[in-house]
Symmetry: C2
Amino acid sequence: MRPKMTRKPTHPGEIVKHDYLEPLSLSVTALSARLGVSRKTLSAIVNERAGVTPDMALRLSRAFNTSPELWLNLQRGYDLWAAEQTDTGWRKVEPVPSVALRK
Amino acid sequence: MRPKMTRKPTHPGEIVKHDYLEPLSLSVTALSARLGVSRKTLSAIVNERAGVTPDMALRLSRAFNTSPELWLNLQRGYDLWAAEQTDTGWRKVEPVPSVALRK
DNA sequence: TGACATCGTAACCTTGAGCGTTACAATAGG
DNA sequence: CCTATTGTAACGCTCAAGGTTACGATGTCA
C-alpha cells in the first residue's frame, strides 16, 4: 500500500519555459506581446508565481498549437497538490455512511 | 470537420445533486455539515452559482469515496467552456511562427 | 565602453471569487 | 400548526489575477 506521497507536480510555467521559450529562443517580452497579456503576467507564470487561468490556457493553446486542456491539466495537478499540503480540515471529512457501505 | 461546438458542460453541482444528494436522500444542510463547510457554500455549488475549488474537491472525494480529480475535471470543463464564450481577445492570438512551421 | 534589450519585481489599483455568519421568506411534511 | 429545509440577500474578509509604471541588475554587441 503506497502512501501516495507524490512530489510537487510540474508547474505549467516550467513547460512554457523549457519546452517553448528556450527551444524557440523566444523572450518573455516577445511571447507576452503575442499572447496579448502584460510582460508581468507571463513572467509570473514562467516563474511559477501565478497559475494558468482558463483564459491563459486558451491563449497558450493558440500560440503553441496545443489543447487548452494540456495547460489546465498541469495547473490542476499543481493546485490539487498545493491544496493537499494545506490543512483546512478537509482530512477530517468522513465518508457518507451509505456510500461507505455500498463499497 | 466538426466546428467543435460543444454545448454547456455538466456542472459538478449537478452531479452532487443527482448522483448523491437525491439517491442518498441527503439534505444540503446535512452534507454541508459533513463536509465541514457552510450551508451557503454547498448550496451555491449545487445551484451552479459557484465552482468546486481544489479544497472542496478534496472534501467531496472523501465524503463520496471518489478521486478529487473527478470533481476538478468537471469543473475544468465547465470553466474552459465559460472562458471560450467570453471575448477577452484570446481568439486573436496567432500561433508562434516556428511552431506553425514545425507542423 | 556605451547603447539597448531583457528580466524579475516592487508598488499601487481594480475586479471578482470564495467562504463565513446572520436573517428572512417560501415550501414541504408530519 | 410546528418544524425542517432551502435559496438568497446583506455584510465583511482574504486572496488571486491583471494592468501600468518604474527601477536596478544582467547581458549583448558594435
